[in-house]
Symmetry: C2
Subunit: 350 residues, 2 copies
DNA sequence: CTGAAAGCGCTTACAG
DNA sequence: CTGAAAGCGCTTACAG
């Protein structure tokens, strides 16, 4: 089947190619009867514009590159879903590449992405150097999510990890906990460092001495949470609450506690960070700090679209929010004096 | 910065555009010194081929469309990761569109996808009619994952849902369970129907009468699992095992049991289907039927690539595998006579 | 192995 | 509002 082109349509409609083109692009007004004739001809012939030719001629590819770490990660997946949503109806499509948390893989993913004709680029976290991103930002609209870039502050969508983490710690401290173990994220990761600092500051503000024995580092994935708990116990660490730098590690930690026959929250309180959608369905449902992940994806897409439209917009600020579920409870000593936690359903998710 | 083109490179290297083009496409041999001159010029000028122009001239877009339901779903996300992996290094990129389990949205997602110049199409499940897919398959290489298409059997990657489900039920029956409740997937979904049939057949083979009171339908998402358990209890249903048509609903069901203070597996055994990566980290780790989700994604990509390369290959068969973790146990009556379940770590995931 | 030339299917000043 | 024409940057028979 020979592909039918604009020329075929124009011919059938008795107009010039230019006019037919205008009907589809909508850039210039076309007399009503000609417009109708073109539409009719296109319909009859089953014409579909060739996006590639259009791109070459117009200089726009209608493709937005998205550099992520793992499309199937519950965290990044949510952001991607938001991006998809934000791009919907715009005519732009997203095209992904994943670095899988490895510096080299990320570099090659980015390289592969830039080998395509992109109209914009969204970068989700990762380790690509600031300078590289600055260079790219000079070439095309760029938005970074979940990371900062020197000199591109207005193009970065971030949350306040320090504050969020501080508030998690505060929640535990206010419940009476003083011996709080912490499973940190990888020190190479900016967010992880900020969260650790938030935790530390809260301890300091409550005049609680930090105990190095209660600190373990993980890699943000489930297995490392499990191993971290094992590490704590094998050190003989004693604690009444366990704070974890992200939900995925908190899941692993939860399993570690289960393995030891430790009840949550009766014996130990557990708190995560991110509020992944599964966190409303763990047993018990996880208390955690909610990141507006999906919303940030949407905002990133909108920011790119705006920049593409020539009216760059400063993305809104994103706030984290403590979601108190059932994995945290007052310390033993105080429990009797406080009402039992409300066994509510994970309502906000249903 | 003016974009530098092949012509610039050719000029700088003192060769024709054709020759320069050949250096990059590698379609024809080029004399060594000219080859070197071109490479050097390209390097000096920082030349990057324009993929769009290349596409228009060659007639290939290097884009594979992927019609999915939700990029952030733990199930589809795994398949997508596989596709990404399978495409890596091929020069082809995947471009996604999601139907979100809604018939109309899926149709519009597909329409949007086909509005682009695609070299191939991968369809993950969904409700797009067979005829539509057949029509598309006549236009471009097409692979379906997790669904059948009349007349395109060799282009469908599927697992045997009936058998997988049968084996889940068998596992419970062999543990001595006879009163087994079942949370089914949506009846509109082919996989859901097959799984229900597998469950029923197993009951029949074990001469267990089916009790309609023990059957509830969900929608494959977590909240429906929770609600299904509530429905069962509010009916006053009695059962010693709960079989669930997929892991996500099993998570919800797990929470429902927890709400009632029911222990798993001491009071009730729980089994899922899919083996999502989180299922190794639930408490207790979930016994489930493993689908080689990631592997199917890889295979889908390879099949598309093969078709594109002109040597279509019949994709391999995929087998499900029972993963026995800790959410299933013998019925009370028999428990004493059997060894306790081995509290192993979720080893295969670590 | 190489060059001149046509062509991929559209868009967009330009002139009316 | 409309047409003729140039051009987007490459690939690929064709002829040598």
């Amino acid at each position: 089947m020979a592909t039918i082109t604009l020329e075929d349509v124009a011919q059938a409609a008795g107009v010039s190619v230019s006019t037919a083109s205008r009907v589809f692009s909508g850039t210039t007004k076309v007399r009503a009867d000609k417009h109708a004739a073109v539409m009719k001809a296109a319909d009859a012939l089953g014409y579909r514009p060739n996006a590639i030719a259009r791109s070459l001629a117009s200089g726009r590819s209608m493709l937005i590159g998205v550099l992520t770490q793992d499309t199937s990660s519950p965290f990044y997946g949510e952001v991607l879903r938001g991006i998809e949503q934000g791009l919907e109806g715009s005519g732009y499509s997203a095209i992904f590449a994943s670095g899988h948390w490895r510096v080299e893989e990320e570099a090659s993913a980015l390289h592969g992405l830039m080998g395509r004709p992109l109209d914009g680029l969204i970068v989700l976290g990762g380790h690509t150097p600031d300078e590289r991103l600055s260079t790219l930002a000079a070439q095309l609209p760029l938005i970074a999510v979940g990371r900062g870039v020197q000199g591109l502050e207005t193009q970065c969508l971030r949350i306040d990890n320090f504050q969020g983490s501080y508030d998690c710690a505060r929640h535990l401290l206010e419940l009476g906990h003083r011996r709080i173990a912490y499973i940190a994220g990888p020190a190479s990761h900016r967010d992880a460092r900020d969260r650790l600092e938030g935790f530390r500051r809260a301890l300091a503000d409550w005049k609680v001495d930090e105990d190095p024995n209660l600190l373990v580092e993980g890699d943000f994935l489930e297995p490392s949470g499990l191993m971290a708990v094992e590490a704590l116990f094998s050190r003989g660490a004693l604690f009444s609450a366990l704070m974890v730098a992200n939900d995925q590690m908190a899941y692993g930690a939860r399993l570690g506690l289960y393995r030891r026959g430790i009840r949550v929250p009766e014996d130990i309180s557990l708190i995560g960070f991110d509020d992944l959608s599964s966190s409303a369905f763990t047993t018990p449902p996880l208390t955690t700090m909610r990141q507006p992940t999906y919303e940030m994806g949407v905002a990133a897409a909108e920011a790119i679209l705006a920049a593409l439209g020539g009216t760059p917009l400063t993305p809104p600020e994103f706030r984290v929010q403590l979601i108190v579920r059932e994995s945290t409870a007052p310390t033993h000593r105080d429990r009797q004096r406080l009402p039992p936690p409300d066994p509510q359903y994970p309502g906000e998710r249903l």
